[in-house]
Symmetry: C2
Subunit: 278 residues, 2 copies
Amino acid sequence: MKIEMTSSQLERLKALGGNIEAGYCFESTAQREAEFKRLEKALVLEAKKNLNTLRTGDRRPMLCKVQEQLVEALTSEGFVQVVTPTIISKKFLERMTIDDDHALHTQVFWVDKNKCLRPMLAPNLYSVSKDLLNIWEKPVRIFEIGSCFRKESQGKSHLNEFTMLNLVEWGTAIGNRDNRIRELSDLVLKTLRIEDYEFEEEDSVVYGNTIDVVKNGLELGSSSKGSHPLDAAWGITDSWVGIGFGLERLLMIREQKNNIHALAKSIAYLDGVRLNIK
Amino acid sequence: MKIEMTSSQLERLKALGGNIEAGYCFESTAQREAEFKRLEKALVLEAKKNLNTLRTGDRRPMLCKVQEQLVEALTSEGFVQVVTPTIISKKFLERMTIDDDHALHTQVFWVDKNKCLRPMLAPNLYSVSKDLLNIWEKPVRIFEIGSCFRKESQGKSHLNEFTMLNLVEWGTAIGNRDNRIRELSDLVLKTLRIEDYEFEEEDSVVYGNTIDVVKNGLELGSSSKGSHPLDAAWGITDSWVGIGFGLERLLMIREQKNNIHALAKSIAYLDGVRLNIK
């Protein structure tokens, strides 16, 4: 008889950061229980060690540290940081063509009839850009790092709340846009110490034809360029490139974690470590 | 006949950062229009100068810079930064005694029947603390800086979305709590370069008897201490001190601005400067 770990045992070990191979079998439930206890104990010890390193070290989760590193890299490249509201108007969503029939619409968290949690940073960046383009000479370069919200399946690589980095450069020469997308993506990924990624063409529901950044089949980020049909709603006619990255995904890839929740804003994990390890 | 500026003129000048005294009168509407134009032009020039300083300087809004400074100051003092979700459960609110009859309840943004935007950081910090107290020796020191949400009148000193700093130290000796509250408040306010504030005793709807930090009649922050009746819901029995500050208010005071929205997460302002100044 084939005795495997129970699903709750597998879940617990996975939450603790363990990688249990499929088909790991035992000759008796007693042997299984002993092995589970041994593995759990070792993982809890490791977790406590990691928490202690955090506590006695620089005392900041990776999710916070990479934000600071990205701010440093992007401001050095001439990008100005902006911070905009989490709650946006329905009108702003509609300007992104996310109306009631749109695929993304069912994923939006509404706080009332006309206001929702932003599922992306783009509409606010459009709004700020429109004003800045009236004031500043081009190229105008801005970025934001902030929480976005989508009702997802909450699978191991999706989050309801995730931290987006979105940068946009207005006035990029038309012929240099694809090159610039690669250049700026390289800057972001070098800052995160991520290598061996690829660029892939993709059709986005919102942005049309885009270039995605992909590693091991997982989308790390996605870029776009304009002038673009969406620009008209904001009264913008300049050329541009824009890139968006989900920071938790970047960290999951870099840290080779099997669970994005461990690195996200969470009350169950702190900096990759499961907290219920009394 | 007494000719004053129109309310829209006053509003525009105020948004641009002007301080127009009450009772400022003109002998004709032509004189008023000329003076309005002169003032507006001067304020727009000043705004553009400030935006240019941002663009050619360190390219970060104050709201972002003070967060980095606070992180540096608090981690140096032994506090560990945590980052937790914006959306919290109704159960977490109820554990703060914010039920359907509570004064704060009408200010809560709900995203569904059982989930809302956090009006404060405390419940998440309680949850993380409860786990860490099982793992770490006391004193356990953590803090979070993040957006909180309350339906406010949106007056000149209130925001629907504001940036809270909340720190808590578990295991503070009972006799040293008041002293520690002053010490840690001083650390925060020194980091922000704010002086001449006072400590005032206050009755909080959530925390009972507390010590507030006040300057010029405006509440800058509020502290609390325990053991406290709320602790039981989290199974915590340790003594503690905790302090919360709204960062936009601290900046408004420091920068002597008359409008908190200018320094907040915004699409109408960037780092204190109104953006519709074509």
